[in-house]
Structure formats: C-alpha cells, structure tokens
C-alpha cells in the first residue's frame, strides 16, 4: 500500500522513525503522528546522560519543526488518543476522529511506581519535563537517594557524583542491572561506582519515603534531600487492551510486527515480539528495537510482507567514563565467560547469545556481526580461537 492514511500513536523515537521510513519507502498517502507530550519529538537516551550535565534541551530534538511539514507528516503534539474503533478503523483524539488504513502503536512505557508510602515525593526521569525538574532540583541539593540500580539510576548516580553530590543507591535485587547483565559485569560496575563514591544498598528495597530520608527494608534510614525513582517501566498497553488486541507484557505481535488485528502494528518498548532465536515473545526497551522495528513496519506497509523481523538487539549505557555496550540478548540463566577484564561472553546452552563490553567498540561491533549469523557461534568454536571475535568475523569476508 503506498497511499491511504497511516496513523502513528506515539511520537517517541520509534514513532518518528516509522513516519520518516514510510516516506523514504515511498508512501504517498497521509501520515499522522500523534504524541501526548508538548513540543517537538526528542531523543530520550541523553536525558540521563549529557542533558543532565549540560541542560542543552535544544540538542535533543529528533528533527526540526519544518522537517515534518516538508515531509507532509501531520504532527499532533500534546494530544492523547482516547480509543480505537477497529470496526470503523477510527481513532478518537479528544474531539477529533481520524480514519486510518493502517495504525501503528508506538506508545512506549511509563515509569513503574511501586506502592511505597511517600513515593509521590520522588522524582522520575522519563520525559524531558521530568529531566528538567530533576536538573533544577539537583542544583543546590547535597544528598541524593536513587531507588533502582539499573541503567537510569546508575547513569544519574555517576552524573550526580561528578557534581559532588552524596549518592546512595538502593536496589531490591542482590546485584546491579541484574535483568540485563552478567553477575561478573554487575560486580565490575559496583566496584567502579563505589570507587567514584556512590554507596550501594543491594538486596535492600525501599519501604518508605519520609521528609528528608528514605527507609530501607533492613530498617536503616538514609538521609536524602532528593529521591529519584528509577525502578523500571511498564508498557503502555491500555489502548490496545481496550481495543481487544492481544496483550501479554506488551502488545503481542507476530514476526511481521502485526498485532492480532493485521491492520494494526506495534513497535518498540510497548510491543512483545517473537525472538527469532527462542521463539519466545520478548519486549525490549531500546532505541535500536524501536527504530529497526519502525523501518521493518514501514517496508511491510509500503511493499507488502517482508522477512520475519530478526535484528540483533543492542544496548548501551554511559556511566562516568565507562561505556557499557551489550550486543545480543541473554536470559537470566545464560552462562557467562569472562574474557579479559572488560568483556563477558554469554551463552545459552552451547550458543553465544550476548557479548558485554566496557569501552570496547571493536569487540561490540564484531559481536553484532557474529550474532546476526544463524545459528550463532558455538562455545567450542569460540574457545578454539581464544574468544577472538576478529578471527571469527574474518570468515565472513572469505
């Protein structure tokens, strides 16, 4: 289909990419991109990194205002989609109704707010407005407590330590970034942050926020002038659910990223798609998944069914002067092999499933190439070449 109206719900990085890719693929019909935040669509990853340091919001815009006009993309910002009428192929946006030929759900996630007394005192860090609030509050504050030892919490901890704040991080799990990272890498980052002066309370969740302090499960209290809640996110699936689409930890899609209604697609943080390795549905929170899936959907809409979606996932996190890069996807029971100080290979059974590196773009990129091969390299083959991915990737060139 290269005419017809495509409506995209969600103007984050994935929604914007879907609109741009539709035009690049030659879609000639109308495109409407609807976001619930005010202002131009922007990049989220820098909010907990460069933006927090520099405060330069003007560098975050994904595209300039006139760009959307030039590409004939109707950009509706500060608007919420209230409902989808699948039978009539309509979406309701306040007083307005739009008729669609194809609908793309790119609704993303929202912060998970645990039911802790006083949690309303905590700052969040997901939107630009929240990042501005946090940045202002950090100014002139001394003691920071972070709830959650994941990417966002640790990125903020590193920035706050650089700004000479006193930083405590409380994490209910026994180790840092446990959902995505090997135990060995968790330990490396714990030591790094401790050397920078951050103090950790692991296996010790927060049970209450009071004026001027937080209370831990252990009963200990930590004085804090500012509390950041960074305990993960939940996918925004209410719209899909209300429309009767299949939802299970995200809007469930098939290998072509179609929901249970073939005219409706879902992408990025809000969608659960079949992992080509395991066949299990997974939901990824990353720019890579959002934009690669957006491109795949655009191709399918314009040119018809494509190959099943099978891009190698990758992730990154900047913490002080360490850039953590992860290629691939490891489940929690994947085995780990440490190679040198700053690289961990992860295996699912006998097959390589992920590679974690610190400040090593070369190995990271080699891993991305290798993991794109199916099947992925076997442990024995990698062990035979001393886990030198360069020697493995050479085979591609022959």
């Amino acid at each position: 289909m290269n005419d017809g109206h495509v409506v995209i719900v969600g103007a984050g990085q994935g929604g914007v990419q879907a609109a741009l890719s539709l035009r690049q693929e030659g879609h000639g019909g109308a495109i409407t991109l609807i976001g619930d935040e005010e202002g131009l669509p922007y990049q989220r990853p820098p909010l907990s990194k460069d933006y927090l340091k520099t405060g330069q919001a003007e560098r975050l815009a994904l595209r300039p205002a006139d760009y959307f006009d030039r590409k004939a993309i109707n950009l509706w910002t500060g608007r919420r989609v209230d409902g989808i009428d699948r039978a009539a192929r309509r979406v309701h946006v306040g007083q307005d109704t739009l008729t669609y030929d194809r609908l793309i759900l790119a609704t993303g996630t929202r912060n998970l707010i645990p039911p802790i007394p006083g949690i309303g005192r905590a700052f969040g860090l997901r939107t630009l407005a929240e990042a501005k609030g946090l940045r202002d509050a950090l100014n002139g504050t001394r003691r920071i407590a972070v709830i959650g030892g994941g990417f966002i919490g640790l990125e903020v901890a590193a920035v706050a330590r650089a700004g000479r704040h006193e930083v405590h991080v409380a994490e209910a799990a026994p180790r840092l970034m446990s959902r995505v990272l090997s135990p060995q890498m968790s330990e490396r980052f714990r030591a790094k942050h401790e050397a920078l002066g951050t103090r950790f309370h692991l296996g010790n969740g927060v049970t209450e926020l009071r004026d001027g302090c937080i209370v831990l499960a252990s009963g200990e209290t930590i004085d804090a002038d500012l509390v950041l809640l960074a305990a993960g996110v939940r996918p925004n699936t209410e719209l899909a659910e209300a429309a009767g689409l299949a939802v299970d930890n995200g809007v469930v899609v098939d290998p072509l990223l179609r929901t249970s209604d073939p005219e409706i697609y879902a992408l990025g943080d809000c969608c659960a798609f079949p992992d080509p390795e395991s066949g299990n549905h997974v939901r990824l929170e990353s720019v890579q998944a959002a934009t690669d899936q957006a491109r795949a959907i655009a191709r399918t809409i314009v040119h018809g069914a494509q190959e099943p979606y099978a891009k190698v996932p990758w992730f990154w996190s900047d913490q002080a002067d360490w850039k953590l890069q992860i290629a691939g996807l490891a489940d929690p029971d994947a085995t780990s092999v440490t190679v040198g100080e700053d690289t961990v290979f992860r295996f699912s059974g006998n097959r390589l499933c992920a590679v974690e590196t610190i400040n090593n773009a070369k190995v990271h990129m080699q891993a991305r190439k290798l993991l794109a091969r199916r099947p992925a390299p076997a442990y024995d083959d990698l062990a035979r070449c001393g886990f030198d991915l360069g020697r493995e990737t050479e085979k591609d060139r022959v």
């Binding site: 690049q24 990049q43 990853p45 820098p46 990194k49 003007e58 560098r59 815009a61 994904l62 595209r63 300039p64 006139d66 760009y67 030039r70 720019v287 890579q288 934009t291 491109r295 990758w314 990154w316 900047d318 850039k323 890069q325 773009a361 070369k362 990129m365 991305r368 190439k369």
Partner: protein
C-alpha cells in the same frame, strides 16, 4: 557562524550554518538533512552518521580515531579513506566552508 555544505547521494546540496562546538552530525539533525540518521544521538554507538569529508577539507578535519574506525567497520556504505562519523567532527572557525558528502544509505 560556520557554513557547512552537505551533498547527498542524489546530488542535493544543502548549505547550513552552525556554531563553534557543534558536531557536524548535530547540525545535520537540527537542519533535517535526510542522509544523516544519527540513531544513537552522538553516543558513538552506531555508524549511521557516516560521511565522506570532501578531499579539499580532509586535511583540516583530520582522520578518524581508532574507536571511530571500529564503529565504521559496521557502516552499511563503503568506507573510504575520507570516511568519518559526523558526530565526531566538531565545528570550529577552521572548518568554515566545510563540505561533506553523504553515502547512499546509513542503515
């Protein structure tokens, strides 16, 4: 202000003005130049802001760093001697008039 000319694969020339300290990538993004994707927003995490520095300017921008070269290994378009990641080129007065060429595709 520092002038930079982007020449896209189809020959489209766009000249825009940036400030000292901007990267060539951020300038391209701010101006909506199509041939620069810049997926990671300048984190040197992808190779989707690949450009070819015009031969006349290559001596002034200088060559790529080792880390940049590692990322460029995964660029989709052909890597040439003048290939750079545009997020790693910082504008300065010495680069006023810079010309960069963009590859056919970034992803």
């Amino acid at each position: 202000m520092i002038k930079v000319t982007f020449i896209e694969y189809d020959g489209t020339r766009t000249t825009v003005e940036g400030r000292n300290g901007d990267s060539v990538m951020s300038l391209a993004a701010a101006q909506g130049i199509d041939g620069i994707v810049a997926e990671c927003g300048g984190g040197m995490m992808c190779a989707t802001c690949h450009c070819y520095v015009d031969d006349k300017w290559f001596a002034r921008t200088g060559p790529r760093s080792d880390d940049e070269a590692d990322m460029l290994d995964c660029a989709v378009a052909e890597v040439r001697q003048t290939s750079r990641l545009s997020c790693q080129i910082t504008l300065s007065d010495a680069l006023d008039g810079l010309v960069v060429h963009l590859p056919e595709t970034q992803v």
